[in-house]
């Protein structure tokens, strides 16, 4: 079955819904890449810092959570966009 016959058999709305689902899934997946790498870097470096200077662990941990929170925001905005495209 070629693409043109598939397109001829589907309703226009159905096709649009399919595109929306693909876009939402891809959008969330893409939005998760950067923050994933970013949080890995933040936590990895925080662990290095804590291992080198255990007496500074409290300060490092607080700063680490701050860094995670800022990095994670991008992924969460991607998640919200996913929810909005799919369900709103």
């Amino acid at each position: 079955m070629t693409l043109s016959t598939v397109l001829a058999q589907t309703e226009p709305g159905e096709f649009l819904d399919g595109l929306k689902a693909i876009g939402a899934g891809l959008g969330y997946g893409l939005a998760a890449i950067g923050p994933g790498i970013g949080i890995g870097l933040v936590v990895g470096n925080a662990i290095t810092a804590m291992a080198r200077q255990p007496e500074a662990a409290g300060m490092v941990r607080t700063t680490m959570f701050l860094g995670i929170a800022f990095t994670e925001a991008l992924a969460l905005i991607g998640f919200v966009v996913f929810i909005l495209i799919n369900f709103a």
């Binding site: 409290g58 300060m59 941990r61 607080t62 700063t63 959570f65 701050l66 995670i68 929170a69 994670e72 925001a73 969460l76 905005i77 998640f79 919200v80 929810i83 799919n86 369900f87």
Partner: protein, 253 residues
Amino acid sequence: MLFALEFPPVSHLLEWPDILFGGTPFAINKPVLIFFAAFVLTLALFFAAGKKKLVPSGAQNVAESAVNFIEDSVIMQTMGRDGMVYLPFLLTLFFFVLFCNIFEVLPFIQFPATSRMAIPAFLAIMVWVIYNFVGLKNHGLRYFKNVMIPPGVPAPLLPLVALIEFVSTFFVRPFSLAVRLFANMLAGHLLLVTFAVLTATLWDSSPLFAIVWAPFVVLIGLTGFEILVALLQAFIFTILTAVYIGGAAHPEH
């Protein structure tokens, strides 16, 4: 479909019918009840801890360790000694957000009030008003200069940096503060619902089926993870509030 798995539409998971005063702006539904419960619990904790005894027990223990925690890992790390005046506010904020979140894993309730946008948005707007008020009170109109012109920026870049700083301080901060809490709790709620639905469906189709345990075990593990997320999000909300207030009160030189 093999097991006829039916995922409920998202509106069924998040929108609740009105219980009282339906149709009026004061309608009360489940998230509002949870909101009131969190309010009462926060208040009750403070009253229970208020009876000072030399050897603390029960609620006083919880409250004292919480005060210590907020003092050491939130205020001293972000604002220093001067920030101690904000201790009651930050403590209340922490417990309120925590109680709103923790209803996510309490059996038979299992809905975080913060997974509806209203409560995070309201809290973020409140924080926005407070840190701007602190900045204006401490520095007057120089507050805007402090915000928009960070020290050590080369002159050609200044207009761009000023614009970015302005937008990021006055618009992106409250938005991201609200969205962070909201999206984390919504994602957690959907995750728990997904595995609960999976477990229930597999159970219905055949209780003896070996694989029925897999989603159930994951569900239990995720519940533990969500307790951690609820605590962490309350902590992050509090510490970001402290950072914003501290930044408004003492800008970088």
